[in-house]
C-alpha cells in the first residue's frame, strides 16, 4: 500500500465535496491511503500573492512542514493548492535564507521546513505512481462510447514544474482511454477557465467559460472532465449565466476525473458525490447502465 499526506484544500470541504468523496473511493480501490494532514490551512490561492509574498510562502510552508513531520509526500487534488505547495517547496529549497526566515515563524507552531518531501497533484498519483495498466485492470464498467473532453486547465501544468511537455500533454486523454471512455480533442483543453476572475471581473470570466464550453460542445463532448475544483465551479455552476449572457443553450455536465474513474470501477454514483451537480449527469450515467450490476 502506498501512503500520502493528503491536503484537500478549502474547496473540497463543501463546494467540491464530490471530488473528495470520489478521490477517497477510487484511491481505496487502488490500494492507496490518503492520510489527511491533521490541521492544514488554506494555500492562499492567488490572493496571498497579491498582498504579501513572504506571508504566502509561510502559510503554505506550514502544510509542507506537517507532511514532513508525517514523513509522507504531499498530494493536493486542487490545481491551485498543488501549484502553490509545489513552488513553495521548490523555492524554499533553493533559498536557504528565505527558509530560515520562514522557519523562525513556524517555530510558533512547533514546525520546521527542511525540504524533505515531494509534492504531487492527485492526478499524478493515478497516472504516474499507480500507472494506467493497474487502472485498466480495476475497470469493471468501461465507459464505452462516452465522449469526454479532458480539461487540463492551467495550474496543474503551468508554470512548468520540470521538463514535462506543457504545450501538448496526453496523460489526461490516456487516463480516460484507460477507463474505456473516448477522449475528444478540442482547442480549449489548456485554456484558462477564468479562475477567480469569476468573482472579481465577471465579464472576462464568463467570456472565458463561454469559449471553453463552445469549443467542447463543437467537438461533440457529452461531458467535460476536470482536475480542479475552481474549474469545475466556473464551467458548471456559471453555465446558466453564460447562457443568459451569450444567448446559448449549454447543458454540459462537468465531472471530476475521479468520478469518471469511480464509475468505471463500479462504485455507485451516489458514493462518488454524483447528484450534487447543477447540470444533469443523466446522459453520462446512461453509458454505464449496460455494465455489470454494482457491487
Amino acid at each position: 500500500m502506498k501512503k500520502y499526506a493528503y491536503f484537500p484544500g478549502c474547496s473540497l470541504e463543501k463546494m467540491a465535496q464530490s471530488y473528495h468523496m470520489s478521490a477517497m473511493e477510487t484511491t481505496r480501490k487502488l490500494d492507496i491511503e490518503l492520510q489527511e494532514l491533521d490541521d492544514w490551512n488554506c494555500c492562499g490561492a492567488t490572493a496571498y500573492f497579491h498582498v504579501d509574498e513572504i506571508l504566502a510562502y509561510t502559510l503554505t510552508a506550514r502544510n509542507l512542514a506537517m507532511a514532513e513531520k508525517a514523513g509522507l509526500d504531499l498530494v493536493a487534488p486542487c490545481s491551485a493548492c498543488y501549484k502553490n505547495s509545489y513552488f513553495t517547496n521548490k523555492n524554499l529549497k533553493q533559498d536557504p535564507d528565505l527558509a530560515d526566515h520562514i522557519n523562525y515563524a513556524l517555530e510558533e507552531d512547533n514546525l520546521s521546513f527542511s525540504g524533505s518531501i515531494a509534492v504531487h497533484h492527485l492526478m499524478e498519483v493515478y497516472v504516474h505512481d499507480v500507472g494506467l495498466e493497474e487502472i485498466k485492470a480495476k475497470v469493471s464498467h468501461p465507459l464505452k462510447g462516452l465522449r469526454v473532453a479532458p480539461y487540463y486547465g492551467c495550474q496543474i501544468m503551468r508554470p512548468r514544474k520540470d521538463h514535462e511537455d506543457i504545450e501538448s500533454p496526453q496523460f489526461f486523454e490516456d487516463l480516460l482511454s484507460a477507463v474505456g471512455a473516448e477522449p475528444i480533442d478540442y482547442p480549449g483543453r489548456l485554456r484558462c477557465c477564468g479562475g477567480s476572475l469569476i468573482l472579481t471581473s465577471r465579464d472576462a470570466a464568463l467570456n472565458m467559460v463561454y469559449i471553453l464550453l463552445q469549443s467542447a460542445v463543437d467537438r461533440g463532448a457529452t461531458v467535460i472532465a476536470t482536475a480542479c475544483p475552481l474549474c469545475q465551479v466556473n464551467l458548471e455552476c456559471y453555465q446558466q449565466q453564460v447562457n443568459q449572457e451569450y444567448g446559448t443553450n449549454f447543458s454540459v455536465p462537468v465531472l471530476y476525473f475521479t468520478q469518471l474513474v469511480g464509475l468505471a470501477f463500479g462504485v455507485p454514483p451516489k458514493r462518488l458525490g454524483i447528484g450534487r451537480e447543477l447540470v444533469s449527469t443523466e446522459e453520462v450515467l446512461s453509458y454505464i447502465e449496460e455494465g455489470e450490476p454494482y457491487e
Partner: protein, 187 residues
Amino acid sequence: MATKPTFRQEISNLLFAAHGEPLKTCIQCGTCSGTCPAVEFMDHTPRQLIAMINADLKDEVLASNTFWYCASCFHCTARCPRDIDIAELMYAVKRYSIWHKTYPEDLIGPVFSGAFVKTIIRSGRSYEPVLATSYIFSFGPREFLKEATTATSMMVKGRIPVIPPRIKRLDNFKRVIGRIVPVGGPK
C-alpha cells in the same frame, strides 16, 4: 548618496528570485498578448504594460486595469521566449498597487484579495459566504439577482458551507503570522 530607484527597478525588485532586471530583456514580440485569454478586457496588453514599465510610465501603469484582469493562468510565462515570468510580474504590480493604494476605485480585485487574506488570518481557512460580501454590493441589481440564483442552486445541492471552518491550532497559527507581519500582537 543613494539614487532613487526607477519604477522599472522597483518592479524588478519585487520579482521573486529574479536576477538583474528581467524586463530589460523583453523584445516586444507580443507572444504574451497573443496568448492571454483575458487580453480583450485589458486597458493595455501585457506587451504594452511591459513597455510602459520599461519607459518608467509609473502613473499610466498604475491606472491600468491590466494586471487585475490577469487570472494567473501562466500561459504567457510558459511561452515567453526571454523567460520573463510575466504572470509573476502581474502579481508584483498588484502588490505594488495595493501597498501604495493606487488602484482604481471601481475594481473588485484588490478588495477581494484583501478580504480573502483577512479571512485566512482570522480562521486559517477560506469561507465563501464571507468573501461574497467583498464583491456582491458592487454588482448592479441584475448581476446581483443572477449571482443569488447561482448561490441558491449551489446551496440546495449542499455546496455552500453554513458554518465558517477554522483550524484547530489557531493561536499558534496567528503567532506564526505575527512573526512575519508584526501587527498588533497575536489577537
